[in-house]
């Protein structure tokens, strides 16, 4: 099976991380940075306020950036017949979705964690808050990736699926967001643990929910 996982992962990374015309990882990162840059313009140069709310802004920006590549996560492969060809070769939809979750995470999780450094500087976050944001993103972004791929698979067969997907993902991402951003305030490390737990639940469900959705879209 590993002989088949590697080509799948390489292809997914070539599409999602490097991107070609799709923009790859660059687009979500630029989007994320521009939100972090716009926020001080909007609320004014009040340093204590920025430092207090900046962590939360980074979390919201990360969630929105994760939604950007939603429409090219699953739908093109169904339309081009790739899922049919994989099914003929005994490669289950679940395996493809699991690989895709990993590739999607690699293409926005670590890049966003890197981009959080300049974003934290723009917002004037202190070292402790930045550390909590980074650990929180490490715990939370895998869950956002799993959620993104699942929703992309669910909406693949629908007209206007991309817009609907963004709308669907937001309420489902609320637990990750509350615990992740909550860890910056009173929640502390228990917030991080709950972020990780929410992520793990989403990761465990994604291959099965996504796989079933792809089969349903086949009709």
């Amino acid at each position: 099976m590993t002989g088949r996982v590697l080509p799948l992962l390489r292809r997914d990374l070539a599409r999602l991380l490097l991107g070609g015309r799709g923009g790859g990882a660059l687009l979500p990162v630029l989007f994320f940075l521009s939100v972090a840059m716009l926020y001080p313009f909007a609320v004014g140069p009040d340093a204590p306020l920025l430092a207090r709310t900046g962590g939360g802004v980074i979390w919201v920006a990360a969630l929105l950036a994760a939604i950007l590549p939603l429409d090219r996560l699953v739908e093109p492969d169904i339309e081009m017949g790739l899922f049919d060809q994989w099914a003929l070769r005994g490669i289950s939809e679940e395996l493809v979705i699991a690989v895709r979750v990993f590739a999607h995470w690699l293409s926005f999780g670590p890049p966003l964690m890197l981009a959080a450094l300049p974003a934290a500087a723009l917002l004037g976050l202190d070292g402790h808050t930045l550390a909590m944001v980074e650990i929180g993103l490490l715990a939370g972004t895998p869950g956002l990736a799993a959620l993104g791929v699942t929703v992309a698979a669910l909406t693949a067969g629908l007209r206007g699926g991309a817009a609907l997907g963004g709308l669907l993902i937001i309420p489902m991402a609320v637990p990750v967001l509350i615990f992740g951003a909550g860890s910056l305030g009173a929640g502390g490390t228990s917030g991080l643990a709950l972020t990780g737990a929410a992520s793990l639940v989403l990761l465990a469900m994604a291959p099965f929910a996504g796989g079933a959705a792809v089969r349903a879209a086949r009709g």
């Binding site: 002989g3 088949r4 590697l6 080509p7 799948l8 292809r11 070539a14 599409r15 070609g20 015309r21 799709g22 339309e79 081009m80 017949g81 790739l82 049919d84 060809q85 994989w86 099914a87 003929l88 070769r89 490669i91 086949r218 009709g219």
Partner: protein
């Protein structure tokens, strides 16, 4: 090489609330080819998808032995990637090695560095045939294999299918155009229309 066979018993297909065909019985053994004919919308592609296990049968059973390769209107090659890379992806999945002679024969040898989206319809179809050859499946399901192919390439597709059957493979071809393979039987779906 393993044996190959297709056994279809009393198959019926429904799309939406319309029954397309019923009572289809087919027996195909190693080396045999069958062309499914009929007007547009009669259910040729649906029959192939049911045999491939990609669509459910409304009634009846389908049993197949041997790996299945499918060529339909979608080449399943990444549009943004060069043809060579897109084919290599499937070779890695199928565990086969590049066959320069096959690519030369299909007229693809000079196109390997061209992104798939710049290829013409016929070139994409030939690329899909290259993907099928590399898969080394015993059962070929060809859905309108001649669409987009010029006379020369159409003859080539027929030759490849004949060679596949001569080597002990099975070909099930859905086509409204004539498709010449020695010893090929024809199933007229109109006889089974519901």
């Amino acid at each position: 090489m393993q044996g190959a066979s297709i056994a279809i018993d009393d198959l019926a297909c429904r799309r939406g609330d319309r029954l397309l065909f019923r009572g289809v019985n087919v027996r195909l053994h190693a080396g045999e080819a069958l062309r499914v004919s009929g007007r547009n919308g009669i259910g040729k592609s649906s029959l192939l998808r049911i045999v491939a296990g990609l669509a459910p049968a409304f009634a009846g059973t389908v049993r197949t032995e041997g790996a299945i390769g499918l060529v339909d209107e979608r080449p399943a090659l990444d549009p943004a990637r060069p043809l060579g890379d897109a084919l290599t992806f499937w070779r890695q999945i199928d565990g086969s090695t590049e066959n320069a002679w096959e690519l030369e024969r299909l007229g693809l040898a000079d196109l390997l560095d061209v992104p798939v989206r710049y290829l013409s319809t016929g070139q994409k179809k030939r690329a899909a045939l290259a993907r099928l050859l590399a898969q080394q499946a015993r059962i070929w399901l060809l859905d309108e294999p001649l669409n987009g192919l010029d006379v020369h390439a159409a003859t080539l597709a027929e030759e490849l299918t004949a060679e596949h059957c001569a080597a002990g493979g099975i070909a099930l071809i859905a086509s409204h155009q004539p498709f010449a393979v020695p010893g090929m039987a024809t199933l007229s779906l109109a006889d089974h229309a519901a």
